[in-house]
Every structure is written in structure tokens, then in C-alpha cells.
Amino acid sequence: MHTLPRGQHLWRFELSLADDRPVWASGLVKSFGKFEAVKGVSLSVPKGAIYGVLGPNGAGKTTTLRMLLGIIDPDKGERCILGESSPRNVSQRVGYLPEERGLYPSMKAREAIAFMGALRGLDWAEGRRRADAALEAAGLGYAAHGKIRKLSKGMAQLVQLLGSLIHKPDLIVLDEPFSGLDPVNQELLERLILAERDRGATILFSTHVMGHAQRICDRISIIAGGKVRFEGTVDEARTMLPMKAQYVPCSGDDKVGGLLPADAERIGNAWRFTVPEGGAERLVTDLIRAGHGIAGLSIERPGLHDAFVRIVSAVKAEEAEAVA
């Protein structure tokens, strides 16, 4: 039987992993003193996806991203970024917007962007040219020669974001990119992220605002208490919870409650309840036969927000129980 040398096996494995999984991590653990911030996080981000790392404050999102980028090393576990186990080796193909924004206040906006590009291997002159174009496209052309200290917080944040994209990275890591932006700039950022995805980049971003994740993420991980509690698509997260129905009978008879599921609660003249596992058809038939009629009926799927709250609440209850 013909076998490849061990090293060659690994090389091929890493190459194939890089092809379809630009970010892969298994069992990442990181402690700061006695506090275990990340307790075995595993991630696998498909190529060309917008991948959201969701979690409450202090869940370990930032620490996970910093480990993936090689800013800090994990105490345990493995990571593979763009086919390299050492993120430093591929830093020129990665763009990063940290949670705590950092720019030199005395630098001009275009210089700051060109500087960030230069750090990622982009020529200064080309960086300046691209910076001018990017600032113009973002509606900040007038601020290109203004110093960072004279820009508003939101504008400076956009400048930094443009700086992290200027070298056209294959992987873009954004830590809480929407925080501190007004709704107009949040929409601009969403458009930028989608455009980068369309260019072929893979985007990994963290947030605790579910609206953005629900709108733009292809896949998500929900981290709570230092562990991944859910991994999948937004729809998969939402289907974890049963659908909810709101029913308004034609009659005002209280007896209708007896036909509805046990969790039904009356809100004015409407009833709200969880749709039974088999579906709502049989229940609707029963209600009509009993003469209650249907003045209104809406069935809605729970949002990502509800799924998130449920998962995180369960983790918090688990932790409280463990402490008790």
C-alpha cells in the first residue's frame, strides 16, 4: 500500500481545510489567573460565509477572537487560520477590527488607513490610493486629510474599519463592529460586510445585538459561560423554539381556554399560546366545531433574540445552580 509521509498528510489536510474552512478551532481554553474565560470553544467557519459569534457580555467572544488571531495563545486546544496553525504566518491575509478601537489621534485619516494596510503588507502609495477611494465611497472623502482627533467617534470607527479592509483580506474578523455607530452607519457597515462577502472574503464577527446577526449571518455560534452552546444557521437557532400563535375568537366565551394548549394566556380579547407539536390545523378545526370561530389568527416563528435569550438564560440558571 502506498502511503504518504506523515508531514505530507498533514500538509494536504491543512490545505483542504484552508480551502473550505478558513477558520477552524477545537477545544480552545484560556484562563486569566484563576478565571477561566474560555472553556473549550470549537468553531468551524465555512469559506465565504458571514459567521456571527454571539454571546452575552463576558461570554468569552473577544478572548476567542484574540486567540484565533494569535494576539494571545490558548492554554489548550488547536486553531487553524487560512490553513496555518500559527495565525502570525497569515496575518497579511487577515483584517481585524478590535473591540476597543485604536488609532493614532495625530495621524491623518488616509495615512491611518495606509498605515494599517502597510502593517498587512500593502505598499504605502497603494494604501494611500485605496484609502482615498474607500473614504470617498464611504462618504468621508472630505475627511481624508483631517486628523483622527478631529473626527467624531463614529467617523473614526469607520476609518478604522476601512483600514482593516484596505488590503482586501481573505478573512475579516470584526469584534463588536456595530457598537458606537448610529443607525445610518450601522446600515453602511452591514452593506460593507455584505460587499466583502460578495468579494469572496470570509467574515467572522462578534456581537450581542441579535438584529444584525439575524439579518446578515449565514451561520452563528452562541457562546455563553466560555462554551459554545449552539452552532448552526440562524433558522436552525430559531427552530429550536416552538412557534407561537395568537388567536382571537369570534365569541368572548371563556370556555375557549379549555380547548387551547396549557400555556395559553389571555391578553385582552386575544389568546397567546405555543403551537402544538403536530401543528395548528387540528386545533383550528376543534375551535371552529366548538363554535368559537376565528376573528384573527397569526402564527409566528420566534426570532433569534428569543433563541439567544433562552439559551443564555438556561446557561445562567445552570451556573447559578452549580454555585448553589
Partner: protein
């Protein structure tokens, strides 16, 4: 290595431009003018003070009118022969003898109205001289005056007669002496130390900016920390070079217009002036990098300006110790202290520069520069390691890195 260097250059460029292209840099560049102004002002003030003190002091001779006349002529000649037109001991005042010469002598020395340093009484054959503590030279001068006066009288010649007319000229020594070479070495150590302490010590707070504005996160994600540290040092070194070039140029202009007799002939390195200057430049670069790396590494651990200020003191003291050891090496070439100072990495640049003034061998300098460059790398790597561990909370601790573990039973 290539990537590390190119990354370091990007950071160096940013730092260099951020400092040099500001009005504050002009202030920094011209700051020595302020120092020079203070030195000149205090020098002039000190000179006036010393002159005032000197003018009010005097020596007193108790003598009859005839003796005083002879002594005055003799003193004029003696003073001009010994000291020329200026300088010498305080002027001499002549007073007539009182009824009690001993009491008069004591009274003159303790009189508040005058500042007598020495008083001569008695006869010229047997003069009695009293002087204040520490003014023995004045006493001896009065004794010599009496002796010369008596000699003239014994020989029957008029007071102040000159038998020999010397022609005195100044000759510069062309062959460097050992002491001149040592002086060259010591002077070089002093200049290097002054420049290093003034310029490299700025590295202590240089990472504070990145820590306060959170740029460090961007840098740490983009390039190796070693490149950040090295780049910061190179940026500062670039600033130092501008400073040295400016002041070096001014100094060269100053030397160009100074007369040959200004004492610059004492600059006599045995290895040859051009090679010595080139070596001193290389050693200054190494001293800057080595001490700058310590300042940078230690300062990077600090989180507030107060901590930075507190950390600066021990490093400055360390630097002063290196200066002391290097000065001892410059003063005792070939001694065991010199050997130690030449080998110990942080005193090596200073001591080796001093060695260039007294020893012609070139190969030890090549070895020393390589050795110092290695230590620049080690110091930067250690600084980056401690920063990663202490500030970014990543990696292993210093003890574990050295293979030392503490086990608890």
C-alpha cells in the same frame, strides 16, 4: 527575518514622522541651547563671584617704610615672573609695625574689616608668618618674597634685578601619549553616555501611547511584538540621529573656527581618528539600542505615567553604574575592570569605545559589535516576551520560560 525587519521599518517610520514632523521636536532639538545658556549664565555668575571673593582677599606684610619699599618692588617682579599678568595669590598690603607685633599680627588676621589670608611680621631675616587654615600657599609666597628680598640685599643689587631673560613658547606634542589616549577614551565615554541617557531614556514611555489609544491591539494582531519593539527603537534611533547630526554639525563648525591651541590636539585615538569616529558611531548605536531596549521593555509593563516615572529611576541608576564601570575601564586599560566592562553587554559599547583610544587592534571591535548586536536581539525578545506575558496575559511566565518551576508540597 525579512518580514520582521520590514514590519519594524513601518513602525519606525510612523514613530519617526510622528515626532519629527511636530513643532515639539524643534523644542527638543533646541533644548541643549537652553542647557548651554544655563551653563554660560552660571559660569559667568560663578566667575564674577570667584573674582569678587579673590579681589577682597589680601596678604599683609608688617614692615618699616624702607623695607616695605624694597619688598613692594620685589613683589611686583616675583608676581609677574610666577603668574604673568593675571592670577596668582591675593595682593599684598603693607602696614607699619605697631607696639606689639604679635598682637598686631593676630588682630590683622581676625579683623572683620579686611580679609587677610596671611600676615608676615618680624624681620626679613627671621620673618614670622601666620596664615589661615588652607592658605599655606599664601604663607609660602610671603616667605619666598622675604627670601628674594634678602638675597638681593646680600648680593648688593637693586631689588627686582633680573639676571636671565627667558623666551618661552608653546609646543604641541605630535606623538600621542598614553594619558592623552586615555583622556580621549574617557571623553568619548562621557559624550556617549550623555547622548544615550538623554536620548535612549525616552524609550521608557514610548509604548504608553499605543497602550492608551489601544493601537497595540492592531499592532499585536498584524506584526510580531518583536517587530513592534524593534521598530519603536529604530524610530527613536532615527530621531536621535537627527539630534546628533544637528549638534554634531554645529560642533564641527565650532571646532573648525577654534584656534589650534584650544586643546583639541589632545584628541588622539591610537586606532586612528577616522576609524575611531566610525567605531564610536557604531558603539553609540549599540548603546542606544541596548539601553533603549531595557527602557522600552520595562516601560512597556507600566500602565500609568506615575509607574513609568517610578520605573525610570532604577534604569537610570543601572545606566549610571554602567557609566562608572566604563569610566574605570577607560582609566585603566587592560585591567580586570576593563575586561569586565568590555564583555558585560550593557557596559560593553562604552568600554569598547574607550578601548579604541588606547588599543590599535581592530578585530576585538568586530567581535564586540557582534556580541552587542546579539544582546540587542536578546533584550528586545525578552522585552516582547514579558510584554506578551505581563500585559497581553499570554504565554509562559519568566520563570517557566527559563525552565524554573516552583513546586508546592
Amino acid at each position: 527575518m525579512k518580514h520582521l525587519l520590514s514590519n519594524a521599518l513601518i513602525i519606525a517610520r510612523r514613530d519617526f514622522m510622528a515626532v519629527v514632523a511636530t513643532p515639539t521636536f524643534l523644542l527638543f532639538l533646541l533644548a541643549p541651547f537652553l542647557m548651554l545658556g544655563v551653563s554660560v549664565a552660571s559660569g559667568i555668575g560663578g566667575a564674577y563671584l570667584a573674582k569678587g571673593q579673590h579681589d577682597s582677599r589680601e596678604m599683609v606684610v608688617i614692615a618699616s617704610a624702607a623695607d616695605a619699599k624694597r619688598l613692594k618692588v620685589e613683589e611686583d617682579v616675583l608676581r609677574s615672573r610666577l603668574y604673568g599678568r593675571e592670577g596668582g595669590p591675593p595682593s599684598v598690603r603693607f602696614v607699619l609695625p605697631g607696639p606689639d607685633p604679635e598682637a598686631q599680627q593676630a588682630h590683622l588676621l581676625s579683623d572683620k574689616a579686611m580679609e587677610a589670608t596671611a600676615v608676615m611680621g618680624g624681620s626679613l631675616q627671621r620673618p614670622v608668618i601666620a596664615h589661615l587654615p588652607g592658605e599655606a600657599d599664601d604663607g609660602r609666597y610671603l616667605a619666598l618674597l622675604a627670601e628674594e628680598s634678602m638675597r638681593s640685599a646680600e648680593l648688593g643689587r637693586p631689588s627686582g634685578t633680573q639676571f636671565s631673560t627667558p623666551h618661552i613658547k608653546v609646543v604641541q606634542k605630535t606623538v600621542p601619549t598614553r594619558s592623552r589616549q586615555q583622556s580621549t577614551g574617557s571623553g568619548t565615554v562621557v559624550i556617549m553616555f550623555m547622548l544615550t541617557i538623554m536620548l535612549a531614556s525616552q524609550a521608557v514611555g514610548t509604548l504608553a501611547e499605543e497602550k492608551s489609544n489601544k493601537v497595540i491591539e492592531i499592532l499585536a494582531a498584524s506584526v510580531p511584538l518583536e517587530a513592534v519593539f524593534f521598530g519603536k527603537l529604530m524610530g527613536l534611533f532615527g530621531i536621535a540621529l537627527v539630534f546628533v547630526a544637528f549638534w554634531g554639525g554645529l560642533a564641527a563648525l565650532g571646532i573648525g573656527i577654534l584656534p589650534a591651541s584650544a586643546g583639541l590636539g589632545s584628541f588622539a585615538p591610537v586606532i586612528g581618528t577616522p576609524i575611531f569616529i566610525a567605531l564610536a558611531g557604531c558603539y553609540f548605536a549599540m548603546a542606544f539600542m541596548l539601553l533603549g531596549a531595557i527602557f522600552l521593555g520595562v516601560g512597556a509593563q507600566a500602565s500609568t505615567m506615575r509607574e513609568i516615572q517610578m520605573l525610570s529611576l532604577p534604569i537610570t541608576l543601572f545606566q549610571l553604574i554602567m557609566f562608572g564601570v566604563s569610566m574605570a575601564a577607560a582609566g585603566n586599560p587592560g585591567s580586570s575592570v576593563a575586561r569586565f566592562a568590555e564583555v558585560f553587554p550593557f557596559s560593553s559599547p562604552f568600554a569598547m569605545a574607550a578601548r579604541g583610544a588606547t588599543n590599535a587592534a581592530l578585530w576585538p571591535h568586530i567581535l564586540a559589535l557582534a556580541w552587542q548586536a546579539l544582546w540587542v536581539g536578546i533584550t528586545i525578545a525578552l522585552g516582547a516576551h514579558f510584554f506578551r506575558y505581563g500585559v497581553l496575559k499570554s504565554g509562559v511566565g519568566p520563570f517557566k520560560a527559563l525552565g524554573l518551576t516552583l513546586t508546592r508540597r
